[in-house]
Each structure stands twice: as structure tokens, then as C-alpha cells.
């Protein structure tokens, strides 16, 4: 029977089916951060089961509020830090070496095609960009993952989104995924994996694929997934070349075992011509409320935020810097940029990108999730509006009474210069 990539991963990782329709999978990677893990740790201690199934398969990072802003967040960080030390978790990233989880873990080569990955974070779907099945879970699933190395899922169903053609000038992966979410709606992919296919997806870099897969959850999707190919091999090369005796072609051929079969089944197929997509943003408080930026021109903003697990990678900073170079933020707008990992920070510092941000008037902060969920480093006041490269525009998300417009880094930069929502192609 022909199978899609997700079905192949499920089959290869199946521990058991305790009941029809329930799949308990063995996990390759269990990722942890300081917001959702401490309660799992406390519960394991309370049950006198403070153990980990395999310390090499557990990755941990302090990223949501870092450096800690108060006693409570310092305690959360401490609980995670003490636990990582106690269990000899080598891949633990503390202040100074820490970055946004969905940026730093792939950067370290932890995610490979065909892997099963969970984390107590809804944007774990990002890692499907590598051809892995990666799902956000709650603390109890995380706790069982830490203790037993398994997680239960329903029978996988997939939606295929086929994107052909090329993205136009000023149009980015973020615009593409916002268009997909607009079409699917906020629960159009619930209990489904969104499989991204087509010539446009194949032409995307790993960073762009991560941007696309990152927002699968905003359509309710369990995971976004791309088929692993040459681009995947090249991104992972320094980590995998020994496994393939330095034979790149062998790696490319091997990754094909995770490709969907031609006649695999999908609940739904959506076809999109990338050439028809324009720079867009969200309005309102749901990520499927998407409009062309040109239709919203003139709408004032107070803050620009560039960063997050969606758009805090080097190519994102470059795209924004290209718009910002030689320009200044509008006098009524403050800008915040948070490179998503220390490596990205260093590279952007060395190649002059951060200088462009500084010259434009931006505050450069350390890597952190902070402002995206209104926890630190750029929270909005009541009534304020932010042009943001993050992934969620719920009411009050970035601060009670605040409003977030989701958009690409180039659009956010253009809007910051103009002081109002602006299509990057219209900046003169």
C-alpha cells in the first residue's frame, strides 16, 4: 500500500497500538524548555520517578524568559538547570549559549529525516522541515516522553499543500504560510500533518522551510513536513558526513526512503501558485485573518519586532536589513531585533547586519522567545500595535490590550520605516 512520509515514520517507530487508531511511537528526540518542563520534573520527583529514558536523546534550553526577569522565572530556569545537571543532559543550553528552541536545536543538527520529536511547545512542528515527525505536546506527554521515550498519537492523516512557481519580489516564506493558513483556516488541519510539496517548496532553503512548517499549528496541524532532499543534506552535512563516509550522493539517496509514495493518500490536496502571493499580514486576532499589506496601508504601528522561532534566523535578519539599510525607523516607532541563537547573533554581528539595525535605531536583544508571548523584552502596552515576525496574533498575546500584525521580516522593516503597515515593494 502506498504511504506518505508521516505513515512511514509512524510505521518505523511504532512501539504498539494499544487500541485501534492509537499509535504509541518510540521517540528519537525529547526537547525541553523552562516554561513547560518544570511541572513535569516536579511530578516525576513527587512520583519518585526522577529518571530520564536516555539522556542523549533529551535536549534542553532556557529560552522563553532569559536572562530571568524575576524570582519566578529564575526558579523555573533553576529547576531545569538542576535537572539537566542531575541527569547529565549534555545538550543543555544555559544563559550565554542559549537560543530560541526551534532555532537552536536544528542548528545543532539534532533533527534528522525520519525522526520522531516532541516538545512541550506548540511550534515544535517547525522541525518537520527536516522530514521529521515533530509534534507539540503538553506537559504530561512530555513527562512520559522523558521517563519512557514514547508518545501516543491518533492515526496520522495528511493534507498535501502543493506550491508551484516562484515567490515574487518582496514575497517570502512567511507570506506563503500565511496564505496557506488563510486557505485552511485556524482548524482546517486539526489532527492532520500538513505535507508541503511542489517546486516552490523544493527551492526553499532550510530556514525558509522552517518558517513554513513553524506555522502549521496555526491551522491546527500536528506537524508541517517537507520531504528531505539535497537542501536537507547540505544543511546537515557537517553532522552526518561521517555516517555516509563523506558521500553526499549516498546521503541524498538514503533520505529518499522518507519520501511519500506517488499514490499515497491525503485527506485533501491544496494547490497554490506562488507567483500569485503578495506581501500579506494578519488583521484581528486569529492567524487565518490574512490581508494584503497594500489594502492596509496607512494603519499606524508603535513597535516592530523581528525575531522568534518563525523569523529570527540569519536570512530573516538579512531580508530586514536589506530594507533598513540607509533608513531610520519612523520617529513614532521603536524597533526590537532578537537574533534567534548566539550563532546567528555572532554571524549578524560579524557581517555588519546588526550595525544596520543599530543605525536604523533598533534595540538589539539577546536570543529569546520573550516578546512573542508577552513575557519579556518587548511587551506592548494596552492599545499599542506591533508589526511582528512572530507566529501568533491572539488578543493580548504580546501584552494585554496589545495588537499584533504577523508579517515577513522585510514587511516588518518597511512598516517600521514608514510608521504604518507597508508593503516592502512600496517603500520609496
Amino acid at each position: 500500500m502506498p504511504k506518505n512520509i508521516t505513515q512511514k515514520i509512524f510505521e518505523s517507530h511504532l512501539r504498539e497500538q494499544p487500541f485501534e487508531g492509537t499509535y504509541v511511537l518510540d521517540l528519537d528526540v525529547v526537547m525541553c524548555h523552562e516554561i513547560t518542563t518544570p511541572v513535569a520534573i516536579a511530578d516525576l520527583e513527587w512520583r519518585e520517578k526522577d529518571r530520564v529514558f536516555d539522556s542523549t536523546k533529551i535536549k534542553a534550553v532556557i529560552d522563553h524568559v532569559t536572562p530571568s526577569k524575576d524570582a519566578k522565572t529564575a526558579l523555573q530556569a533553576k529547576i531545569l538547570r538542576d535537572w539537566a545537571r542531575r541527569h547529565d543532559i549534555k545538550d543543555f543550553f544555559d544563559i550565554g549559549s542559549n537560543g530560541v528552541c526551534h532555532a537552536i536545536f536544528p542548528e545543532k543538527g539534532f533533527i534528522r529525516p525520519g525522526y520522531t520529536v516532541i516538545m512541550g511547545d506548540s511550534h515544535t512542528c517547525t522541525h518537520g522541515a527536516f522530514g521529521a515527525f515533530a509534534a507539540g505536546v503538553g506537559t504530561t506527554d512530555l513527562e512520559v516522553g522523558i521517563l519512557k521515550g514514547v508518545c501516543a498519537f491518533r492515526q496520522p492523516k495528511s493534507i498535501k499543500v502543493v506550491v508551484s512557481g516562484e515567490l515574487g519580489q518582496g514575497v517570502f516564506a512567511k507570506d506563503l504560510i500565511l496564505e496557506v493558513i488563510r486557505q485552511l483556516t485556524v482548524n482546517g488541519a486539526t489532527d492532520h500533518v500538513i505535507e508541503f510539496r511542489g517546486s516552490c517548496i523544493e527551492a526553499l532553503s532550510m530556514e525558509e522551510r522552517m518558517t513554513v512548517c513553524n506555522m502549521a499549528i496555526e491551522a491546527g496541524g500536528t506537524c508541517g513536513i517537507c520531504l528531505p532532499d539535497e537542501t536537507t543534506v547540505d544543511f546537515l552535512w557537517s553532522f552526518i558526513k561521517d555516517d555516509y563516509n563523506n558521500d553526499r550522493d549516498a546521503a541524498i539517496a538514503d533520505f529518499k526512503k522518507w519520501h511519500s509514495d506517488p499514490d499515497a493518500e491525503y485527506t485533501k490536496v491544496i494547490e497554490i501558485d506562488a507567483g500569485t502571493i503578495e506581501p500579506v499580514t494578519t488583521v484581528g486576532y486569529k492567524p487565518d485573518e490574512v490581508k494584503k499589506l497594500r489594502e492596509l496601508a496607512g494603519s499606524k504601528i508603535d513597535q516592530v519586532y523581528i525575531g522568534s522561532c518563525t523569523n529570527g534566523r540569519l536570512s530573516d535578519l538579512h531580508a530586514a536589513a536589506k530594507v533598513l539599510i540607509g533608513n531610520k525607523l519612523h520617529k513614532n516607532v521603536r524597533g526590537i531585533v532578537s537574533p534567534a541563537t548566539p550563532k546567528i547573533f555572532d554571524e549578524a554581528l560579524e557581517d555588519g547586519t546588526l550595525k544596520i539595525f543599530r543605525d536604523a535605531g533598533f534595540c538589539v536583544t539577546n536570543p529569546t522567545c520573550g516578546a512573542c508571548l508577552g513575557m519579556s523584552n518587548g511587551v506592548l502596552a494596552n492599545g499599542e500595535v506591533c508589526a511582528s515576525t512572530t507566529n501568533r496574533n491572539f488578543a493580548g498575546r504580546m501584552g494585554p490590550g496589545g495588537m499584533v500584525h504577523l508579517m515577513s521580516p522585510a514587511s516588518a522593516a518597511a512598516s517600521g520605516i514608514k510608521g504604518e503597515l507597508c508593503d516592502p515593494r512600496d517603500l520609496v
Binding site: F19, T36, V144, R392
Partner: protein, 175 residues
């Protein structure tokens, strides 16, 4: 197994998200009990008061589509749990929220839109009660002299999690 059933509160809107159930600013708590006063604090629906008696007394929530969308935070089901709300009935749920409910030994019951509409006909009545027969998979809503009987489906896995008291208990005995 937890207790199920009791006074009902209706939340008449789709897409109630996890930020509305428990805002991110309270995710710095490491004890579930600390979430109790903040349940649904940011939810704005006409006639709904997050500090009112209706929510304080409720044991069952009835809502519309895509309940619990957004973040993976289990703080959302915990916020219900520490307020003695152990059942949410809706047209459908975001996957992670639904799984989190059953993982905690609570119930996220999905019904058709027509069935939800029928239950919402009681929404105007004061003191709506819901009795749940777990073994028979039946709910009986009463209020304003009216009664709505409703059967529901649970997967074998979800029912087992409820009976076991949650996923940790289920998994620990099995894996």
C-alpha cells in the same frame, strides 16, 4: 477516576484559545494551584464574567468549535482542573488541548454542531446542570424545566486514560 458532572457554564464562541484560558503571564507559576484565580481571565464574551459565581460554581464547560487552540500549555486544562472543572464539551478541540485533557484524566467531549446547538438552547436558563454516566457514555443536561439527553463517543484510548487517571498512570504500567 475523577468526578464528572455538575453546574454548567456556556462559552458561546468558537476558537477560544489557550491564551484566553490562561494568559502567558501566569506561565511562570510552577504550582498548578497558583493558576486557579486566573482561569479565563482574558476571555471577552458578552455576559461572561471571569470573576463571577457562574464560573466559580461550574464543573462542566460547553462551548463551540476549535476549543483550546494555540499553545501547548497544559496550564490550560490545569486551570480548569484546579477550579474543579473536569469536562469540556465542544464541537471539536485543538489536538494538543484535547490530548492534555485526557492525559490529566479529564474529558474533552466532541459533539456535532447540531447537538451542541441543542444544548445551547438551555444557555439562557439559570442553574443548568449536567449529569454524566461514564459507563453508558450519556450526558443529561437540565435547566429551566427542560432536559436534553445526549450520548457521546470516546475512543478506547481516551476512555482508558480517564479510567487510569491519566497518561502517566497508563504509560507507567505499560511501557
Amino acid at each position: 477516576m475523577k468526578d464528572f458532572g455538575g453546574p454548567v457554564i456556556f462559552l458561546d464562541r468558537s476558537d477560544i484559545n489557550t491564551d484566553e484560558i490562561i494568559p502567558a503571564r501566569y506561565l511562570t507559576e510552577v504550582k498548578k494551584e497558583a493558576l486557579a484565580p486566573h482561569l479565563l481571565e482574558d476571555l471577552e464574551i458578552d455576559g461572561f464574567d471571569p470573576k463571577g459565581d457562574k464560573l466559580k460554581n461550574a464543573k462542566v464547560v460547553v462551548s463551540r468549535a476549535n476549543f483550546g487552540c494555540g499553545s501547548s500549555r497544559e496550564h490550560a486544562p490545569w486551570s480548569f482542573e484546579v477550579n474543579d472543572i473536569t469536562v469540556v464539551v465542544a464541537e471539536n478541540f485543538a489536538r494538543i488541548f484535547r490530548q492534555n485533557m485526557f492525559n490529566c484524566g479529564m474529558m474533552a467531549i466532541e459533539l456535532s454542531k447540531a447537538d451542541i446547538d441543542r444544548i445551547f438552547e438551555l444557555a439562557g436558563c439559570s442553574d443548568v446542570e449536567c449529569k454524566i454516566d461514564f459507563a453508558a457514555k450519556k450526558m443529561v443536561f437540565t435547566g429551566g424545566g427542560k432536559t436534553v439527553e445526549q450520548s457521546y463517543e470516546l475512543s478506547e484510548f481516551d476512555a482508558s486514560l480517564v479510567e487510569a487517571g491519566g497518561w502517566v498512570e497508563f504509560a507507567d504500567s505499560r511501557y
